[in-house]
């Protein structure tokens, strides 16, 4: 019984980090109505950025957020502005242009394989950072400290984004665009600038997620693919476009992955996750917290 509680806690912690990795995906979908297939790759870029920042300067891994989050914001902002925006303009009349999805897939392939070319296929990890292997002992249970930090970061980030969307002018403009882009344009909102900012915010949250992962996770060129597929599942579970939904979806996946192995071979949990995803897709495609008009 104690094992199950311990696994559940660690599952929730890891799950909220999954949720954090998917948060940017859901923001970008909510505003641009496009599934960003390059999201895992942006996470990967963030992880390499955080890894090299910490390795070269020797600072505490979490201090890297100060550099990684803004850097990723500008990366996302200009990626959307230069590469994706022209396609949106060309396909102005299509609500969910498939060509944009295809272009993000191209970005995924370029980023992953450029990283492979530059840094090689080897796994890297921050082996001696202050958080590595740290365990919190509660009675007879062991809770992973880097995952606990990650969970707290995920909650703070979610609250921060919520505050930003509710209380700032830019946040309101983003929400207006996500609800009705034509009406928002008529109110004097520059739709494409909003897209840039939303993409930047999505990339920045991927950067924050990357910083929380780096202290305990391996870094390699295709690490993003794992989180990409998980991210898709999480956002569909939680409802495409819902930030709270991303957290809940992530925690569900985290729980299945950590508690599941008590009852079956660990690799089977992956099949269960895909099965659950297909069931949700067929039964309630708008997800747990999604809006019906989004599908």
């Amino acid at each position: 019984m104690l094992y199950i509680i311990e696994d559940s806690i660690n599952g929730i912690l890891m799950g909220s980090i999954y949720g954090l990795t998917a948060m940017g995906l859901t923001i970008i979908f909510g505003v641009l109505k496009v599934v960003n297939f390059a999201h895992g790759s942006m996470l990967m870029v963030g992880m390499y950025l955080a890894y090299w920042t910490v390795t070269l300067s020797g600072i505490h891994p979490y201090l890297a957020i100060v550099l990684v989050a803004p850097a990723m914001f500008f990366f996302g902002y200009y990626l959307q502005n230069i590469v994706i925006k022209p396609i949106f303009i060309a396909e102005k009349n299509v609500r969910e242009p498939l060509t944009v999805i295809i272009v993000t897939t191209g970005i995924w392939y370029i980023l992953d394989n450029m990283t492979l070319l530059i840094f090689g296929p080897q796994y890297r990890s921050l082996s001696d950072n202050p958080l590595s292997g740290q365990m919190l002992e509660i009675g007879q249970m062991f809770i992973s400290v880097p995952k606990l930090y990650g969970c707290i970061t995920a909650l703070i980030t979610a609250l921060g984004i919520y505050w930003f969307f509710q209380k700032t002018d830019m946040g309101r403009a983003i929400r207006a665009t996500s609800m009705d882009r034509e009406a928002a344009s008529l109110m004097g909102i520059n739709q494409y600038k909003i897209y840039n900012v939303a993409f930047g915010i999505g990339a920045a949250t991927a950067g924050i997620a990357a910083v929380t992962l780096v202290p305990f996770y391996n870094i390699f060129p295709t690490v993003g693919v794992l989180f990409d597929i998980k991210g898709f599942i999480i956002v569909v579970l939680g409802g495409l476009g819902s930030i709270g939904g991303a957290l809940v979806g992530g925690i569900i996946i985290g729980l299945i992955e950590s508690v599941g192995p008590q009852f079956m071979t660990a690799t089977w949990t992956e099949a269960i996750v895909y099965g659950l995803f297909l069931v949700v897709l067929f039964v309630k495609p708008s997800g747990l917290f999604g809006q019906k008009h989004d599908w």
Binding site: R95, I102, I110, N113, M114, V225, L240, L278
Partner: protein, 334 residues
């Protein structure tokens, strides 16, 4: 000469070259590359039935390749049933799977269908990787299945040389191209086209868009599974990481998109342009610059989407039309 005659001559010339190539190319390596090129052209043409004409984005076709490969191989290894029969069994199973995914998802918007196909393919791969025996059938998990090349011959779909494989995949490719041509000019083709571009308008006119897409999906998954059997018999070794991989699903889609989806020539052009890039950069840069060909794929994909969203077949078709016109003028003395 009028344009019709020129088209006929061009078609005959292409067919002659295609059937004559093995007489000229004696190198097994180049023949292997050509067989794979036709294999990809075939897969992409099958993909195109649903991905091109129906206006959705399937990203899990590797699952159907896997169903085809595993069905025929299991029947052949365990029961000695000819892969030609196994091929059809795989096709039927894949059709069921395709309809099962299509049934609920075709009513949803594009992104959901793409995600559902990815989840289906990945889920299927995970299951195959984790199962050694499915009932009486030996799947052998991540180790995959090997076909011993013992009783060669047409009945067993096993040959010692590459030429028979070349002609089999070539004939399969021609057959699927003719099928695509017939469909694109049939009522179903028009329904698909209308449903892909303006689903609301098409439905308002009484077109059952979801049903048309479902038929396209059923045909596409059936045809894709046939290629799976071919691949198993050609390489004699299948394992889930290679045959049900996300990479294969994406490569099929990439070739179609770069060549031009929704056109008959697009998949062929895409395979002709991209496969050699992939093969040769793997041969020459494989050691020094790993992943180079995928960077090129990604770049080409983005550039094509920017400048030729309908694919490379569009400028090339125009070029060909100009050429035909000029020949017509010259031969008839304008």
């Amino acid at each position: 000469m009028n344009p019709k005659q020129i088209n006929k001559i061009a078609l005959i010339a292409i067919l002659l070259i295609a059937f004559g190539l093995p007489l000229v190319i004696r190198s097994a390596t180049y023949l292997h590359i050509l067989v794979l090129l036709f294999f990809y052209a075939y897969l992409t043409t099958s993909w195109n039935l649903v991905g091109g004409f129906a206006g959705v984005l399937p990203l899990g076709h590797a699952a159907f390749v896997g169903i085809g490969a595993y069905s025929s191989t299991i029947l052949f290894l365990q029961y000695g049933i000819s892969p030609w029969i196994g091929m059809l069994v795989g096709g039927v199973l894949a059709t069921f799977a395709g309809v099962l995914i299509g049934l609920p998802t075709f009513k949803m918007r594009g992104a959901y269908f793409a995600l559902a196909t990815i989840a289906f393919a990945e889920g299927f791969r995970v299951i195959v990787e984790n199962v050694d025996y499915l009932g009486p059938f030996k799947i052998n998990g991540p180790r995959g299945l090997q076909i011993p090349p013992l009783d060669t011959g047409l009945a067993n779909f096993l040959f010692t040389t590459k030429e028979p494989y070349y002609y089999i995949i070539l004939i399969m490719l021609i057959a699927v191209l003719i099928l695509t041509y017939v469909i694109s000019r049939s009522k179903l083709g028009y329904y698909l086209n209308a449903g892909g571009e303006e689903p609301e308008a098409a439905m308002a006119l009484g077109v059952n868009v979801a049903r048309a897409k479902l038929i396209a999906m059923a045909m596409s998954s059936f045809l894709t599974a046939l290629a799976g059997t071919f691949y198993a018999q050609f390489t004699l070794y299948i394992h889930p990481k290679s045959i049900i991989s996300l990479d294969l699903s994406f490569e099929i889609a990439f070739i179609a998109l770069i060549g031009g989806r929704g056109s008959i020539a697009g998949p062929i052009l895409g395979a002709l342009l991209l496969r050699p890039v992939g093969d040769f950069s793997r041969i020459y840069f494989g050691d020094t610059l790993p992943g180079m060909h995928l960077v090129i794929f990604g770049l080409v994909l983005i550039l094509v989407m920017h400048y030729q969203p309908r694919g490379l077949q569009e400028p090339l078709t125009r070029l060909y039309a100009n050429l035909v016109q000029r020949i017509t003028q010259k031969t008839t003395g304008r």
